[in-house]
Point group: C2
Chain length 242, copies 2
């Protein structure tokens, strides 16, 4: 019989709280994700197996996947260096990006294109939820993700850029700036929009807009390409000629 069978059990309550709050502790689900987190140096507080450590009923009330092999891990939230200490890279911010698949996809893009990290502004989906972890294909374990209020972000006083068809068709910044991606329906919030430079991605009039993950792919890839040019002497020259 499983060790823990009651919802009053302190460990059960602690896991529940970690899932709901993602404060100092984070729950990661599934054998592969838990193994990956440990392999990447995340500190496991407890690894719990269904029907061994937790009764099936309790386990299923915590986990999204309910297979017999399921496992959940309770981890200490990694502490990240200040995202704004590295002026040679860019920071990605998500302004109420609601879909966990989009959040995970953009975290993966942030890793691919060497952003310092991802700022989650209020209203964004949980980056550590199972759907976002899956969409990030493990990148969530390597990219610093930090929750912040809009006021805190603005107080950093870094240049902000947003993708917006009404802006100019300029290259995205390659360093020392924040690229903000907004809500799937409404775009970025008013507070962010009025402080940000708008970048239009050149496209036809056959579509009204791109989805947020596509915009992120295009701008972050371009930002990284420009940044990489700057590091290679011959390419740097070519970049300057443009």
């Amino acid at each position: 019989m499983a060790n823990v069978t009651s919802r009053q059990n302190p460990l059960y309550k602690r896991i529940r709280r970690a899932i709901d709050e993602h404060a100092d502790e984070i729950v990661i689900e599934g054998p592969k994700a838990v193994d990956d987190a440990i392999a990447r140096g995340w500190k496991a507080i407890h690894v719990l197996h269904r029907d061994v450590d937790l009764s099936p009923a309790l386990f299923d009330s915590l986990a999204e996947t309910k297979t017999p092999q399921s496992v959940i891990g309770l981890f200490a939230r990694p502490s990240f260096a200040d995202l704004f200490s590295d002026r040679d890279r860019i920071v990605v911010a998500l302004d109420a990006v609601q879909d966990p698949g989009n959040v995970g996809t953009i975290v993966r893009l942030a890793a691919a294109f060497d952003a310092t990290g991802v700022v989650l502004l209020p209203g964004s989906a949980d980056a550590y939820g199972p759907k976002a972890i899956r969409a990030s294909v493990g990148a969530i374990l390597t990219v610093p993700v930090v929750s912040m209020s809009r006021e805190e972000l603005l107080a950093r006083d870094w240049p902000l850029f947003v993708a917006d068809g009404s802006g100019k068709a300029i290259d995205p910044p390659s360093r020392g700036a924040v690229i903000v991606f907004g809500n799937e329906g409404g775009g970025v919030s008013h507070e962010i929009a009025e402080c940000a430079t708008k970048i239009a991605i050149p496209m036809t009039k056959k579509v009204e807009s791109l989805n947020v993950a596509a915009s992120a792919a295009i701008l972050l890839a371009r930002s990284y390409a420009l940044r990489s040019w700057g590091r290679t002497p011959s390419s740097a020259r070519a970049a300057k000629q443009r």
Copy 2:
């Protein structure tokens, strides 16, 4: 009472066949998508309302959405000019892209970045299914989508390009070429791979790969930017300097 209540009804069978085969007739679902198709000049053969034209049970056996306001339209498949007649643009091909959301997203990108059209190779998801239409945000109604075998595509003898991390970090083609995107897990098929130039998208080693929709966004946006430069005298000069 609804007009059609039997699965033996010829109209019911015809709609069923159109959903299964997408040959000469195509079924589009939902009031907005049906209205959009008509507005864009698609020829409606029948527009059928749930509980008016078709009994709820029959309607629900055909439609993915089962709300009382639901509607499905039977349309004549639009006939498209040959995608390979325009050497000034590019053609997108999907080589067993399985997820309908990815197919719809790439169709939307093809519209945004002015590809002549999209070739669906065997094993790709249905571009006219409800999920793909939704992901395309209506772009499916404006972009020619043509099913073709790999042999037929190769027989066109156009240069083929694929995104592949083992290739060189070169710019994508801007005209007179096919950019092929492959299966989510396995990439492009062997037949296509051995005839194609591999393009690596510059990225860090922190991720193994990008998802297919992100690769498509990056390459198609870049191809369009290069094509647009060629059309503007001053920018063309800048482009040549690179």
